[in-house]
């Protein structure tokens, strides 16, 4: 899941202050799962934002709506049909949805209602952790399923480094050392020797974002409508 965190109300108000009619667009997928941009969170903002606006003398009409996934245009389109169009949309989806809106919405201004943080997993209700950075060249086969890029603060491919202490990282003592986790996992599986024998060569970062925006295109899935 893509984990997002709601932006402060002040920031959202600053974005929309030049506009009179604003749609707060919630996303019923990842942003809902991490309790930052689903229907209820979006409605909470719709409750509080007009109060803050009124205090500052800003006259704005706010409406909230949520669709299944903002990153699929077909879900969004019906919410923007009709003549009563907003002047601005605040998207509570991850950046993917917000980008798609900007691509499609023409004269309507688009703002992010959340900060898109990472690809992560739920540790417990209310706690999410980054697990993957989407580098495009997965090495999890050699690191026993634990990612050295996402979970080592230094993203080193052959660790741990000298800054690991009592299983924690020197960058942030609250962060588990990713490489210690890899070692412990190998040990638990009885494959520590495999790890010792493995040298991971420098990655080709061109498959990551450094080669520009990536795209997956499957010709076999292409639809040719009659």
């Amino acid at each position: 899941m893509i984990v997002v965190r709601r932006k402060p109300l002040e920031s959202i108000l600053a974005f929309i202050s030049p506009y009179r009619k604003v749609l707060l667009l919630g996303c019923g997928s990842c942003a809902a799962v991490c309790f930052a941009g689903g229907e209820k969170e979006t409605e909470e903002v719709a409750c509080l934002l007009p109060l803050m606006a009124a205090d500052k003398g800003i006259d704005v009409e706010v409406r909230a709506a949520t669709c299944q996934r903002v990153c699929d245009w077909e879900f969004v389109e019906p919410l923007l049909a009709g003549d009563d169009k907003p002047e601005a949309v605040v998207s509570f989806s991850c950046g993917a949805g917000t980008n798609l809106l900007a691509d499609r919405l023409g004269a309507i201004r688009v703002f992010p209602g959340v900060d898109t943080l990472f690809i992560g997993a739920t540790l417990e209700h209310g706690t999410w952790q980054e697990m993957c950075i989407g580098c495009g060249d997965c090495v999890l086969d050699r690191t026993f399923g634990i990612c050295p890029i996402a979970r080592c603060s230094k993203s080193i491919l052959n660790g741990p480094c000298g800054g690991s202490k009592d299983g924690k990282c020197e960058i942030n003592p609250e962060t588990d050392c990713g490489w210690i986790k890899i070692v412990e996992r190998a040990k638990a599986l009885g494959r520590l020797e495999d790890l010792a024998a493995t040298y991971i060569a420098p990655k080709n970062w061109a498959s990551s974002h450094h080669g520009g925006p990536r795209r997956v295109k499957r010709e076999d899935l292409k639809i040719a409508k009659p």
Binding site: G28, A32, V33, G38, E43
Partner: protein, 665 residues
């Protein structure tokens, strides 16, 4: 999504929406509770007194501590009504006419239903007033005014009632047919006591139950003697025995073939009889009547060794060597009743070899076209609520037949039923004592026919209704909106949600606390009827009505032991007087969004009144609600720094009610 039936509703022959009326009582919405009952039952007041309440036997709270007192709550709903009942609708007669024979529960239900469908309905009744055998239920169980209330409401629907008119005597079946009725439904009941060919039968003061009880009902003088013996172990026998005590018999014995465990009378009736000093003689069968000077002097009884055979059929066996003589100056035979079939003479309605009317039990038809049966005359002895259900069924069949010419049984109202509580869930649930009902003590009540069960007062009814586990009202999950975030699954303290690719409700473990719905980030969960929109509507309604009040709000958990009148009293008190009042089914239903909606409407001071933890059935839910709602108000302080939330336990604002005996303090 169609929710499963709660077991109480499934057990009710008319499928009363028990959970709904109990919850409405818990909400203080008493008139609406009565409407829910009336929707399927034209005898709510009667059933609130004498229903055998199969619902209670199935109540899942019974496996936890004690079943909800459903009969008493029904009675409360029928008695608390203060607003005048709406004048019943009298639709124009558009569909022809039907005659109903017998104004008992089956006949009057069929009559009311058909009248409601647009038929002209005439009811003929052999007694001087409607009610049938309900009239013979002793007044200490079913006071006249209570029975009259239901009867009057039914008749007021525009039913043509002809009393003192007995079929086969005052009017013949052929007369009714000649009058042009398109169908006749005979609901004549079982009006005759069964006899027993005992040696000595016919002695003076050896009497049958029905004529005796008819005399008592009619106010005729009844001489009972000092020692009475009642033969029979059913509810009628208990009624007779208890009536005899009130008529002056000092020593009353009930002797029956069944063992103590097999007694057909309800446990409540037996308990009441024992409290009134009635002596039970289970497993004793009458052998002969002892006479002195032509009058009853006692009864010789023989020991019963077995009542039912291996296949469960009634086939008593005796030990003739083990006999006992019991002195009595009166013996009453209450071993069952039979129908009077004399009205069939001269008609095409045929009888079977045993003298019973030949009929199709499914279709209610007889061998005479357009003549139908319903109630005990068709099914044999049963409860009032079974008769009501049967009358309803007959009305539906007759309507279908008259409209289409087809004989069809009504579609069954069957749905899945919520199953047993899983042990793990059961162990986590809060135990709440059943509220005791006020009663006149046994020795005092035998002095007269005054009603001895005094029902619940408002405080007791509110508490009792709040014990309902809400079986089957749990999460209805909107699959489209559900993000599968797992919050409901992780949060539910009872494992009331399961993962089956998506989130699905597990109704067995659920008591519809609403925590999942409050937490759901997508608003995808409905609990009972609660979607959260009702809260928004209440805010709008209150602010439209009294915008000046809109600085503070009191949000009441509807289970916070408060009725509307108590709420009104609370509303007059400072500081609540200057607040808008809102109700939620339970504080656990309240989402952060709901409170922020209040704040968005200019309300900064929020007080939430909830149950005292000892009275609350969702104690862990209260804790969660406090956590989530406090956090929501803290978030709102970014915009409204003065926003506050305070939680008040109901016990702090309401005095304990001293009128309820044994009420938990």
């Amino acid at each position: 999504m169609e929710r499963p039936f709660p077991p109480c509703q499934a057990a009710c022959p008319v499928r009363t929406d028990t959970r709904e009326y109990v919850n409405l009582i818990a909400w203080g919405r008493f008139e609406e509770a009565l409407q829910v009952i009336r929707k399927v039952n034209p005898f709510p007041s009667v059933c609130g007194r004498i229903c055998q309440h199969p619902c209670e036997a199935k109540c899942r709270r019974g496996t936890l501590d004690a079943a909800i007192a459903l009969k008493e709550l029904k009675r409360f709903a029928t008695e608390i009504e203060t607003a005048p009942q709406p004048v019943p609708e009298r639709p124009p007669v558009t569909r022809g006419t039907v005659a109903v024979v017998g104004a008992g529960p089956a006949g009057l239900t069929a009559a009311q239903d058909l009248r409601g469908m647009g038929y002209g309905v005439t009811v003929i009744e052999r007694l001087g007033r409607p009610g049938g055998m309900l009239n013979l239920i002793p007044k200490y169980r079913l006071p006249d005014r209570v029975l009259s209330k239901d009867l009057e409401a039914i008749i007021a629907r525009g039913i043509d009632l002809r009393c003192n008119c007995e079929i086969g005597r005052d009017v013949q079946l052929s007369d009714l047919q000649a009058e042009g009725y398109q169908a006749v439904i005979v609901c004549a009941g079982l009006s005759r006591s069964r006899g027993l060919a005992l040696p000595g039968f016919g002695a003076e003061r050896f009497v049958a139950a029905v004529p005796l009880m008819m005399d008592v009902w009619a106010g005729n003088p009844v001489s009972v003697g000092r020692k009475a013996l009642v033969i029979g172990g059913g509810n009628v026998a208990a009624d007779v025995a208890r009536t005899l005590r009130r008529l002056g018999a000092e020593q009353v014995t009930m002797a029956c073939v069944e063992s103590r465990a097999e007694l057909p009378a309800s446990e409540e009736e037996i308990a009441a009889a024992l409290e009134e000093g009635i002596h039970l003689m289970p497993s004793w069968a009458p052998k002969r009547v002892l006479k002195r000077d032509g009058r009853v002097a006692g009864l010789e009884l023989m020991c019963v060794t077995r009542v039912f055979d291996d296949k469960g059929r009634f086939s008593p066996q005796y030990d003739p060597a083990h006999v006992k003589a019991v002195a009595a100056d009166m013996v009453v035979l209450t071993i069952g009743q039979a129908g009077d079939t004399s009205w069939t003479v001269g008609s095409a309605v045929k009888l079977d070899r045993r003298g019973r009317i030949l009929a199709d039990r499914e279709l209610h038809t007889t061998s005479e076209p357009r003549v139908f049966l319903a109630g005990e005359v068709l099914n044999g002895p049963g409860s009032a609520i079974q008769a009501i259900a049967d009358g309803r069924r007959a009305a539906a069949i007759v309507d279908e037949f008259l409209r289409t010419g087809l004989l069809k049984t009504p579609p069954p109202e069957d749905r899945a039923v919520v199953g047993e509580f899983p042990k793990a869930a059961c162990d986590k649930l809060h135990r709440l004592d059943r509220m005791p009902m006020r009663q006149v003590p046994g020795p005092e009540r035998v002095g007269g026919f005054q009603e001895h069960d005094l029902g619940y007062d408002q405080a007791a009814a509110l508490r009792e209704a709040a014990r309902c586990l809400n079986c089957g009202a749990g999460p209805a999950i909107d699959e489209v909106k559900c993000a599968s975030c797992l919050a409901c699954f992780r949060l539910c303290p009872l494992d009331g949600v399961k993962i089956q690719k998506k989130m699905v409700a597990a109704p067995e473990a659920c008591q519809a606390c609403g925590l999942c719905a409050a937490e759901c980030p997508q608003g995808a969960i409905t609990i009972g009827h609660w979607t959260g929109e009702q809260f928004r509507e209440q805010i709008d309604r209150n602010l439209d009505a009294e915008p000046a009040r809109a600085r503070a709000a009191v949000v009441l958990c509807a289970h916070a032991e408060m009725s509307r009148s108590e709420l009104d009293a609370l509303a007059l008190r400072a500081p609540h007087a200057a607040a808008v009042h809102l109700r939620v089914p339970c504080v656990t239903h309240l989402a952060a969004r709901d409170l922020l909606r209040l704040i968005a409407n200019g309300i900064e001071e929020i007080r939430v009144v909830l149950c005292s933890p000892a009275a609350c059935k969702h104690p862990s839910g209260q804790q969660r609600a406090r956590q989530v709602l406090t956090a929501a108000v803290q978030r709102a302080r970014a915009v409204r720094p003065a926003a506050t939330i305070e939680f008040i336990e109901a016990g702090q604002v309401l005095p304990a009610n001293p009128s309820v005996q044994g009420a938990p303090q």
